[in-house]
């Protein structure tokens, strides 16, 4: 059972530069997959291609197969650009208006989702005065209300300060509790690594490693992905354990 499957996906710029090369992966329902990669690795392009929003652009060609078994919601790297209305409530309702949902039903769904992510206080605000974190949550709500089968988040945490990061991570936790399917692209894995079911490492447009978060720590560090300090310490210990034999045979445990 998959929600989305990409096979041999490549994105090239006219004039040769391959930006995404021969990528194949799939996402199963209820999974959270972390697409980790340094900046320039192609993860934004991959996320957009997979979501079907790379419009027919004259300079990019997309080849390969993408099979979508459901709807996809997308959160842009700069969530501000995703907001098309001046009022929060009107903006969140936009997607539902487009599919012809009755206004009363729109209101109900809007308020239900706002409550789930603790953002009811934002509903009557104007988008111009929102903080970065609030903007991210409003943009997210705009897709959540359409109840997509897969949510793709492009670098949702990167520009946020600690308070706003927590706000967004809380939303991610809430979604996980509801068995949402998530694909998150990030170069800073802190906060996400411990929440992900699976990690795909993207370097220079190719998937160089994939597997459980714990198994990929070393690869992630090599690739320059930011890891929590504890993880780095753990990697160091694993390294020294391998290369040296210890007479006392054990580590000092907390």
């Amino acid at each position: 059972m998959t929600v989305i499957a990409a096979s041999g996906l490549s994105v090239e710029r006219d004039g040769g530069d391959p930006l995404v090369q021969d990528v194949s992966f799939s996402v199963s329902p209820g999974e959270m997959v972390l697409l980790a990669g340094p900046s320039g690795s192609g993860k934004t392009l991959l996320g957009k291609a997979v979501s079907g929003i790379l419009g027919p652009r004259s300079t990019l060609s997309v080849t390969g197969e993408i099979r979508r078994y459901g709807t996809v919601g997308y959160l842009f790297q700069n969530p501000r650009t995703q907001l098309v209305r001046r009022g929060v409530r009107q903006d969140i309702a936009f997607g539902l208006e487009n599919v012809g949902m009755a206004p009363a039903a729109i209101e109900k769904r809007l308020e239900a989702w706002a409550e789930r992510v603790d953002a009811t206080h934002l509903l009557d605000r104007g988008i111009d005065n929102l903080s970065r974190g609030e903007t991210a949550v409003v943009a997210l709500l705009g897709t959540l209300v359409t109840e997509p089968d897969l949510l793709v988040l492009d670098e949702p945490l990167a520009p946020l300060d600690e308070r706003n990061r927590q706000f967004v991570l809380d939303v991610v936790d809430e979604l996980r509790d509801r068995d949402a399917t998530l694909l998150v692209a990030e170069h800073d894995s802190r906060g996400l690594l411990e929440r992900a079911d699976r990690v795909l490492l993207l370097e220079n447009g190719q998937i160089t490693a994939s597997g459980a978060p714990g198994a990929l720590r070393s690869d992630l560090r090599e690739a320059g992905i930011r890891l929590p300090f504890e993880t780095l310490v753990g990697l160091e210990r694993a390294r020294t354990d391998e290369s040296a034999s210890r007479p006392d045979g054990g580590d000092r445990q907390q």
Binding site: G55, Y74, F76, T81, V84, G95, N98, V99, G100, P103
Partner: protein, 246 residues
């Protein structure tokens, strides 16, 4: 948006069209000024747009006025000559006729800008779109139209950021208007890039938010005519008739 009296966007549009038509039809400075004055009174009385916000949105036009007055005075010369300087085969003159026409054009501009500013300041994008849809304009077109109205403040914001970045590397914006314009040339490229990037981003955003293939669209906001709107329609007709007949 909803303070004072609220009007249906279609009624407002009718009034704006008739006021603009009246402004273009008058040929007397006194009539044009009267039109502007009456419209200003209307804006204040209905209270749907705070006067300060209204005058603030007219500020850009105010910048244009001095140049327009000078140029038009010279261009529309006629009647009694007050001052003249020969320039080759012709003469640049300040004349009674020139002054009168220039002032008329300036007041017309104020009326048109004032009416448009009032409309934009009292109508939400959603109401604007619904008004157009009821006039048989396809929603997607109406929506793109209202998006472009947001373009200017967005681009102004992006331009300010670019300007700051270059000022912090020694770009000197003091001095006369010509040197200031010349100083801004290096900002054109990043600004151009920012505008293009905005365009690409917008097309991706619209795809992601379900803008493509919309059959039947609903709206959280709704519009409808109320008693006040009929008064506005009546006012629009009166303005038009008076300007033609009187």
């Amino acid at each position: 948006m909803s303070r004072g009296v609220t009007f249906d966007p279609r009624a407002k549009l009718a009034l704006v069209v008739s006021v603009v038509g009246a402004a273009l039809a008058t040929v007397s400075v006194q009539r044009a000024s009267l039109l502007f004055g009456l419209f200003a009174v209307f804006v204040v009385l209905t209270g749907s747009l705070p006067v300060r916000a209204w005058t603030r949105s007219l500020a850009p036009v105010a910048y244009l006025l001095p140049i327009l007055l000078v140029l038009n005075t010279i261009f529309y010369a006629g009647g009694q000559v007050y001052w003249s300087v020969p320039l080759g085969p012709v003469a640049l003159s300040v004349t009674a006729g020139g002054i009168q026409t220039a002032v008329l054009i300036a007041i017309r501009l104020l009326v048109i800008a004032g009416a448009a500013a009032w409309f934009a300041g009292t109508t939400s994008a959603e109401a604007f779109e619904l008004g157009l849809v009821s006039l048989r304009v396809p929603w997607s077109f109406a929506f793109l139209l209202s998006l472009t109205l947001r373009l200017v403040p967005e681009m102004r914001r992006r331009f300010a950021v670019i300007e700051d970045a270059q000022r912090s590397r020694g770009l000197d914006l003091s001095g006369g208007p010509i040197s200031r314009v010349r100083a801004r040339i290096p900002m054109l490229l990043p600004f151009f890039v920012a505008v293009i990037r905005y365009g690409y981003e917008l097309s991706e955003v619209l795809t992601a938010r379900g803008f493509e293939d919309i059959d039947d669209r609903t709206s959280l906001v709704s519009i409808g005519h109320g008693p006040a709107d009929f008064a506005v329609y009546l006012l629009a007709v009166v303005v038009l008739v008076v300007s033609i007949v009187a």
